[in-house]
């Protein structure tokens, strides 16, 4: 049983019998904590539904007097982000989508193949290779960011000369392409870890049987392993999606201005130093930025937790 399954399973033992008073205290504490965890989100939502004067003049815990969706409309399509001319966060939202979808797809696919090789086609030194890939998950990105900036700079120059020569950059120097590359590379460790641990428990006899049946390396992968990998694919996709969507460091370093992803745009919007702070619009934008990952969490919570646990304790 995986760690995540343990969480959702009831205690295997008889629960300790508590007096009624103790039970009241336990429930009271749990509800208090639930309140504390929920309140920032609740305040965010309420603030985003109030007119600005009600935010600055009223109590943040008070329900909206004049319910308004204007802040949402403004955040999505009208608000000025930093020094950019683009209005609203809509464009940045799509930037993030364009970055996340290919990055998740590619890193998941590579992770699956790596996990397959590392468990079912072992070679001397497979442990070292895996260990090296695993450590890559945990490096502070500060230690690779300067060389990455230099390399991406070169790619940009190649793109410029390609434009001069052919009129088309073929993706070289494109900030979205750059971010996809970066996220694929630095996500490989995790996707490989997920699939390796999953395939480790996958019966090797099935692979042997398929070999005797005459299936090739890729046929075994496609016909035997992949059809039985749905849970781990979901876990990996959710994990990668959340991580890449929520990334800020790479986004703010390698994609500037109009090509920024959502998180960077949100930060720029919130920390704009010009004009009055439109808290309600900021909160609406923050909820929009959190929307996709929250949605994934609500829909696939079980897989979400499983990914988190797999990324922490490998077992």
């Amino acid at each position: 049983m995986s760690a995540a399954d343990l969480i959702t399973s009831p205690p295997a033992r008889e629960p300790a019998r508590h007096s009624n008073l103790t039970r009241v205290v336990i429930y009271g504490l749990l509800l208090l904590f639930a309140f504390v965890y929920l309140i920032p989100l609740v305040v965010m939502v309420m603030t985003s539904l109030k007119p600005l004067d009600e935010v600055t003049g009223g109590n943040m815990f008070a329900l909206p007097h004049h319910l308004t969706f204007d802040p949402w409309v403004q955040a999505w399509g009208e608000a000025r982000i930093g020094v950019s001319d683009t209005a609203g966060i809509a464009g940045y939202f799509w930037n993030s989508i364009k970055m996340v979808v290919p990055a998740v797809a590619i890193s998941t696919m590579l992770g699956a193949l790596n996990g397959y090789v590392l468990t079912k086609w072992r070679f001397p030194g497979h442990k070292l290779v895996f260990g090296m890939m695993l450590f890559a998950c945990f490096i502070p990105f500060q230690s690779v960011i300067i060389p990455m900036a230099v390399i991406l700079g070169y790619l940009g120059e190649i793109g410029n000369s390609l434009i001069d020569a052919t009129g088309y950059a073929f993706g070289f120097g494109n900030p979205t392409v750059n971010l996809v590359i970066v996220h694929v590379i630095y996500g490989l460790g995790f996707t490989t870890l997920f699939f390796r641990n999953y395939y480790e428990a996958f019966p090797t006899e099935l692979v042997k049987a398929a070999q005797i049946d005459g299936a090739s390396f890729f046929q075994i992968f496609r016909r035997i392993l992949l059809p039985n990998s749905t849970p781990i694919i979901i876990v990996t996709v959710i994990y990668q999606f959340t991580n890449i969507w929520n990334d800020f460091l790479f986004g703010s370093t390698f994609a500037a201005g109009d090509s920024s992803p959502m998180t960077v745009a949100l930060n720029n919007l919130v920390n704009t130093s010009t004009g009055i702070v439109e808290y309600n619009v900021n909160m609406a934008a923050a909820i929009i930025a959190a929307g996709p990952t929250l949605f994934v969490y609500i829909v696939g919570g079980r897989y979400f937790v499983r990914g988190l646990m797999a990324g922490a304790v490998k077992g």
Partner: protein
């Protein structure tokens, strides 16, 4: 030339040698059982025949063709795995047809072959189910079906019955034996269960630590084990092994078992032993199966070599069809198989009849049979 030939086969993982030079042959239509304790290398040997493990040195050939470097799928073999290894994402029919599909056999042919085998194994009603919807016995059948469909030159079985409960195991054992009789295929079968080995095999190979201990028919293995390991490993309850001294007078050897505080037991040397190799005063180990130790009434009438003596009963184990009686001779426990209704109680002094026609002697130094 034998159908399956294994010559000087070795397998090494780094410095660790797992198969230490094995020679084996099997005639066409034979049923070879590889048996031994876990870690003896029997599964590795089977995987080497299948091509799932590489060969360090030596040679394996089937029907005269050396198959050392052939891919598993090109060796014309089929394998039934311990866990059955049914592809969970495919139906039973798809499982059985997968090998043919990989070889590019057209669909109508595949369907016909699957249908034929399904009929033989009486699993036609299961063809559209998934492995997860099958019982253990059904999975076992499907796994055999998948192997049969290939019509291979050699069938390989890797402990196929070890995941079944006791009752089903007996049923499936009979089924496999029947299948072997019907189809006349050549089978190599790995098990750690010596009863399976005895009942199924035409030839048994006993392995220990990557070395072949003895090869022979089940009768030979059981009655004339080559060494103490085989004697102890095969048979349940296992063979009684008693330390004794040789006494030679006028060329006729007898075996003396000293008993502290009691008369020594003097037994005629068993016929199986080569009397010329016995030295006067030499130590030997007398091996005698529990069924060759009985109460005098149920001793084998045809045997001319029966010695009877009294001993103290330690323990009585009624097993239904027989009663096993344990006594101590020379500090070692000796199990006798008596009639089910033998009136024996612990603490009694009872007569035991040793049938020395069925006894063997071992040299304790080399542990080989003399």
């Amino acid at each position: 030339m034998a159908f399956l030939e294994i010559n000087a086969l070795r397998k090494r993982f780094g410095a660790l040698e797992i198969i230490k030079g094995i020679d084996l042959t099997l005639e066409k239509g034979g049923f070879l059982v590889l048996v031994g304790p876990s870690g003896c290398g029997k599964s590795t040997l089977l995987n080497m025949i299948a091509g799932l493990e590489s060969i360090t040195s030596g040679e394996i050939s089937i029907d005269g063709d050396v198959i050392n470097d052939l891919h598993p799928s090109k060796r014309d073999i089929a394998m039934v795995f311990q866990s059955y290894a049914l592809y969970p994402n495919m139906s039973v029919a798809q499982n059985m047809a997968f090998g043919m599909e990989m070889r590019g056999v057209p669909k109508p042919e595949r369907d016909k072959a699957v249908a034929d085998v399904a009929k033989t194994l009486q699993i036609e009603h299961l063809l559209n189910r998934r492995p997860s919807q099958l019982s253990g016995g059904q999975r076992q059948r499907v796994a055999m079906g998948r192997a049969l469909v290939r019509q291979p030159r050699v069938f390989l079985f890797d402990e196929p019955l070890s995941n079944l409960d006791a009752k089903l195991r007996v049923d499936m054992r009979i089924e496999i034996k029947r299948l072997h009789h019907q189809t006349g295929t050549t089978i190599v079968y790995v098990t750690h269960d010596q009863i399976e080995a005895m009942t199924l095999a035409t030839r048994i190979a006993v392995l220990k630590d990557g070395e072949l201990q003895q090869v022979g028919s089940p009768y030979e293995i059981y009655n004339t084990p080559a060494n103490l390991f085989v004697a102890d490993f095969m048979g349940s309850p296992s063979m009684n092994l008693i330390e004794a001294k040789v006494s030679k007078t006028n060329g006729a050897a007898s075996i003396v078992v000293d008993r502290p505080g009691a008369e020594p037991i003097v037994l005629p040397a068993p016929n199986s032993a080569d009397a010329t190799k016995l030295r006067d005063g030499g130590i030997v180990i007398l091996g005698i199966r529990p069924e060759a130790v009985s109460d005098p009434e149920s001793a084998d009438r045809k045997s001319k070599n029966i010695a009877t003596f009294a001993s103290h009963v330690d323990l009585v184990e009624p097993a239904g069809s027989d009663t096993f009686v344990v006594t101590k001779i020379a500090g070692k426990e000796v199990t006798a198989r008596m009639r089910a209704d033998a009136d024996v109680r612990p603490g009694q002094n009872v007569s035991f009849a040793f049938n020395l026609d069925k006894a063997v002697l071992f040299d304790p130094q080399t542990s080989r049979r003399v």
